[in-house]
Assembly symmetry: C2
Homo-oligomer: 253 residues x 2
């Protein structure tokens, strides 16, 4: 068994504790939580600690706190030369204190509290400073996910930007669709099969191949009719720039 | 049985012919196709005609041609006072020739040639000039779909704009994610579970409730880091305007 200490008690920490509980390879021997209540449903009380000197020896320490706090937490650890990783998509490996062997174990997913996720399908992006640590981290990650990737800090930064486009920004376009429906007395559920089909389609086609619609056809009559229909200035701007970008992209070979 | 003539041989016409073939309520008695080959796999050759005078009497005529051609086709029909509908999301009921009783039967989905779709889940939006015609059209639509909605021409116009946002524009954001991944040696499949989860999430939460990420948090440090990372001018503009719109939206109650 690989012994693991989880440092943190937010969404990602909670989901990791639940996932490791089902793993035959990983034993979560301790959880560091300022407020024990946040993890008490997931782990027995004697395994929860609230101060740094209480942290026990383990094969791996996973810091799963807010991006701003990860560096400070890594400095506060009372030991050195152990394997310490964070779970963030936005900060670098080198943001952790160099007194320990550093790594990253970034699960690329949106975690909502209370909503069960199937961890097996969640991609986990790993990075370490040396190969032996990578092997250990990979063993840990593979015990909860079937999708483990080696991604360095530069790639992770790019991946996070890409994730903002395909998750946060896509969700905002759903919000605009939702608003237009509400304002016109249309049930939003009409759009849901289309939304799911659009997401599923790119499993077999590239997004460029899958593109359809007035912008892809450069159908200026429909584009202008849509622009006159829209009155919200942000919606209008978003319509214009994405249409331009689709047209520009169609011109590239 | 309701007797139906399909006029057209494109994607939507093909999918309708296939779907009606499984229906107990609808009998496609004829298909009008300029080029019989485009539908010959779906219907027996003696039911395919290529000139207007050959079109036979039926309970319902479905014009499924390009948006530009629908009005002209409706004028070319050699009969009057029969129920004639089009399948377009973008043109009005009144674009059809008034010599017949007019209606709309708009399946809201992206149809790709060759890719089988489950019609039962596709929303179909109906509109007619009178209630008796509505009843007939509803019977026909319900025989192939479990999601039938009454949507007038004004609502359909709004719905089409909303669909452009949640389908074409979302797909373009997938394309940007794909491009960023390619340029950084990251397999795009890493993003696919996130994409599917983002689409599935709004089945239980509103998009506004589901919003996360740097813009929702108004995290200017991450936003600026992402903007410096992006070099493509269209990508940068899209990042800026959607971020602004998410922030503006967060301020609304």
């Amino acid at each position: 068994m690989v012994s693991v200490v989880i440092i943190g008690s937010g969404n990602v920490a909670n989901h990791l504790i639940s996932a490791f509980a089902k793993s035959d390879t990983v034993d979560v021997i301790q959880v560091f939580a300022r407020n024990p209540k946040t993890v008490s449903a997931l782990i027995s009380p004697e395994k929860i600690v609230g101060s740094y000197p209480e942290i026990t020896e383990a094969d791996l320490y996973i810091i799963s706190v807010s991006d701003n706090a990860a560096a400070t937490v890594s400095q506060s650890l009372d030991f050195h030369n152990r394997l310490v990783v964070h779970t963030s998509g936005t900060i670098a490996l080198t943001d952790l204190d160099a007194k320990n062997r550093r790594g990253v174990c970034y699960p690329l997913q949106t975690f909502s509290k209370g909503k069960e996720v199937d961890f097996k399908r969640i991609p986990i992006c790993l990075e370490t400073e040396n190969e032996a640590d990578y092997q250990l981290l990979e063993t840990v990650a593979r015990s909860i996910s079937d999708n483990v990737f080696r991604i360095d800090s530069g790639q992770r930064k790019a991946l996070h930007v890409a994730a903002v486009f395909v998750n946060n920004f896509v969700n905002h376009l759903y919000h605009i669709g939702h608003t237009i429906c509400s304002e016109n007395g249309i049930p939003f559920e009409i759009l849901q099969p289309l939304i799911l089909e659009t997401a599923a389609k790119i499993g077999s086609l590239t997004p460029k191949e899958a593109q359809t619609g007035p912008a892809a056809r450069n159908d200026s009559q429909t584009i202008n009719a849509h622009l006159s229909f829209l009155s919200d200035p942000d919606q209008k701007e978003i319509y214009k720039i994405i249409t331009k970008s689709i047209i520009d992209n169609g011109k590239k070979l």
